[in-house]
């Protein structure tokens, strides 16, 4: 452990002192990102930006094709029109060779076609809804779609003796709804009996009616697809309403955030969630990432930051292999990606989704922190 942190410190120190001459071989390569930096959903975009910027420092210390990458991050304010305007500005004026983002699946449905029309590769780091990469041949994503993660989590729940399940989801955002569709299909496929399906709004704070109804049905597990804020609220209220250890809570991708522990505290204990990454993941690459992220931002990275961090490295790697900062060549190089980052080994399918699911681990909440779930 000590050696690792020493190593991380050494890496950080070297990076800080890296001679700028190393990377100066020509004009910087323009790359764009579109994230939510203002408004109520800004937490996601700012986490992603922090991950991107950390990776950018490392990439630029090495240099890409002897040049640096100049990253322009544009705000979408979670607004479709502003996201499109940002994409058009990045492509038309800044002449970016690739775009990372946008934050929400809904935004990608609007922005993806714009990038695709101009043949600029666009890589979503947090867009997990179904149908994203079907927008066109230039649309990629590095976030595992829910359909690869949820079956693993539900299989673990089943191994723990779960036979009946109640499903809860936020019905007003694409991410949660798409996750729920996957959850329902996976539960049916796993042979679990679905006792109830209850929805709520993603800005709701009261879930007592739905939870009281579910409690009367006594399911073995409650599976929730929503972003971390409502999931925390559901868990807190579930404990108030008397849900105990006999009910297993299962989360979707949205629950995989250190904020769950911060908001819900011990109420979240026992929750299972599948993820290709978690903050305590015990490999040197991840430990170095977490240490550097903490040093730079003063807090733990979440999944959004980790995905963004890997994505920036994957893109830099593709530009290097493409041999030229040209969008079409970068696209072809992206398809050939063989990268190993903090999320584990990474390749794309021919459909431009992440290929490997071997990195998925099932995590459990304990004492407000995620750890690998006991069998």
């Amino acid at each position: 452990m000590l050696r690792r942190s020493l190593l991380a410190v050494a890496v950080a120190a070297t990076l800080a002192m890296a001679p700028p001459a190393l990377a100066q071989g020509g004009a910087p390569i323009p790359v764009g990102a579109i994230e939510i930096l203002s408004g109520p959903n800004a937490a996601y975009g700012t986490a992603i930006r922090a991950g991107l910027e950390l990776a950018l420092e490392e990439v630029n210390a090495q240099g890409v094709l002897g040049r640096k990458i100049a990253l322009t991050v544009e705000d979408s304010a979670a607004n479709k029109d502003q996201a499109i305007n940002a994409a058009r500005k990045l492509i038309g004026r800044d002449k970016v060779v690739a775009i990372i983002g946008p934050t929400l699946s809904n935004e990608m449905f609007a922005v993806g076609p714009v990038a695709n029309e101009r043949k600029i590769p666009i890589i979503g780091t947090s867009t997990t809804a179904a149908g994203i990469t079907e927008i066109g041949p230039y649309v990629f994503r590095t976030s595992l779609p829910e359909s690869d993660v949820i079956p693993v989590t539900l299989a673990r729940a089943k191994a723990r003796g779960v036979k009946t399940v109640a499903l809860m989801y936020a019905n007003d955002d694409a991410f949660s709804k798409s996750g729920f569709d996957t959850m329902k299909a996976a539960a049916e496929k796993a042979g679990l009996t679905i006792l109830a399906i209850e929805s709520f709004g993603s800005k709701d704070t009261d879930f007592s009616a739905q939870l009281t109804k579910i409690r009367a049905l006594k399911p073995d597990a409650v599976s929730i697809s929503a972003l971390v804020e409502p999931v925390s609220g559901v868990l807190l209220q579930a404990r108030q309403l008397g849900f105990g250890k006999e009910t297993l809570f299962v989360g979707g991708n949205g629950s995989n955030s250190p904020k769950l522990g911060e908001i819900a505290g011990t109420a979240a204990d026992g929750l299972l969630v599948g993820s290709p990454w978690f903050v305590g993941k015990d490999d040197p690459a991840n430990q170095a990432f977490v240490t550097r992220f903490r040093a730079k931002n003063g807090r733990d990275p979440d999944q959004f930051a980790a995905q963004a961090y890997d994505c920036m490295h994957i893109l830099a790697d593709a530009i290097t292999r493409a041999g030229a900062a040209e969008p079409a060549k970068i696209r072809d190089a992206l398809l050939e990606t063989k990268y190993s980052g903090v999320m584990g080994p990474f390749t794309f399918t021919q459909g431009r989704d992440p290929a490997s699911t071997e990195g998925v681990v099932v995590l459990a909440m304990q004492g407000g922190k995620f750890g690998v779930a006991p069998q």
Binding site: A209, Q210, T212, K213, E229, L241, G265
Partner: protein, 292 residues
């Protein structure tokens, strides 16, 4: 299950009523669609959070945060609305100025504090649930219920039993006449802003405590339901806000519990539309007031 659902409904209704008390007062007396109300709610909660982190107990943090939110309300009212009142600007420009104001305020608060959800220290109020038969209620929920009752009683006493209340009611009825009768309407307006701000702040603390989620936009999320409650209850009608809040809470919970949770949100607005179509000035409203 029915008993628990009824309790759930009453508690949610108390939350709605608590939010609506100051809102209906501000709306009914000052006759302005003031969108900054939700901001006082957030401000109160964030102030209490800050004090609780300095180690203040809840009985100290709650009133101080409420007073702080009241002061914020007076300042904002002065900055945004005094000039418009003086030049007797069209009433809709007041709506517009508060719209610009909340956009700036929420965004400033978010870029200052970050958009994350925070929670109050977990031991601020005991988290245990009380059992009454098979029904469970938490301390925070009882606190909300008690505070709502207390605030309604205090407000009614103020409005009915004091000279100040008389002045405020006179202003709500006919501002020009009130001024002619020697009421300093400027001071009364500031006072109403202060009281509404305090009520909003107290609501923010209690509701933040109950749902354990405090963030800059928490007031914004309550505004739409707040409108439903004060319109159904009748503008400026404190008892109406209480009754409409409770009714809305119970109906929403019953809909989610026994019909479909997908309809929970829609039902509030269906009721609103149905009430207005049959009673154009709200369920408890008296006459059609011509106000823009």
């Amino acid at each position: 299950m029915l008993a628990q659902q009824l309790v759930n409904g009453v508690l949610l209704g108390a939350v709605y009523a608590l939010f609506a008390l100051g809102f209906t007062l501000m709306f009914g007396v000052l006759r302005v669609i003031n969108l900054t109300y939700g901001f006082y709610f957030s401000a109160g909660a964030l102030l209490a959070l800050w004090m609780a982190r300095q180690g203040a107990p809840i009985w100290l943090a709650l009133p101080l945060a409420a007073l702080g939110a009241g002061c914020v309300a007076v300042v904002l009212d002065w900055v945004l609305l005094t000039r418009l009142r003086r030049i007797q600007a069209p009433e809709l420009s007041s709506l517009m100025v508060t719209l610009g104001g909340v956009l700036a305020l929420y965004s400033a608060l978010t870029s200052w504090l970050g958009p994350d959800i925070r929670r109050l220290p977990p031991d601020l109020v005991a988290a245990d649930a009380f059992h009454i038969g098979e029904v469970r209620v938490t301390a925070a929920q009882l606190l909300i219920l008690g505070a709502t009752t207390l605030l309604v009683a205090a407000l009614l006493a103020l409005m009915r039993g004091t000279r100040l209340g008389l002045a405020i009611r006179a202003m709500a009825e006919k501002p020009d006449a009130a001024q002619l009768m020697g009421i300093d309407t400027g001071r009364a307006a500031a006072l109403v802003s202060f009281i509404s701000g305090c009520l909003a702040g107290a609501g923010g603390v209690l509701i933040g405590l109950n749902f354990n989620a405090i963030h800059p936009y928490m007031g914004e999320a309550m505004m739409l339901r707040g409108f439903v409650v004060i319109i159904v209850g009748g503008l400026g009608d404190i008892r109406g806000a209480l009754l409409a809040g409770l009714a809305l809470g119970v109906i929403e919970v019953m809909t989610a519990g026994y019909v479909s949770s997908g309809l929970k949100e829609a039902v509030a607005f269906l009721i609103l539309v149905a009430v207005l179509w049959t009673r154009p000035s709200g369920l408890f409203g008296r006459a059609v007031l011509r106000r823009a």
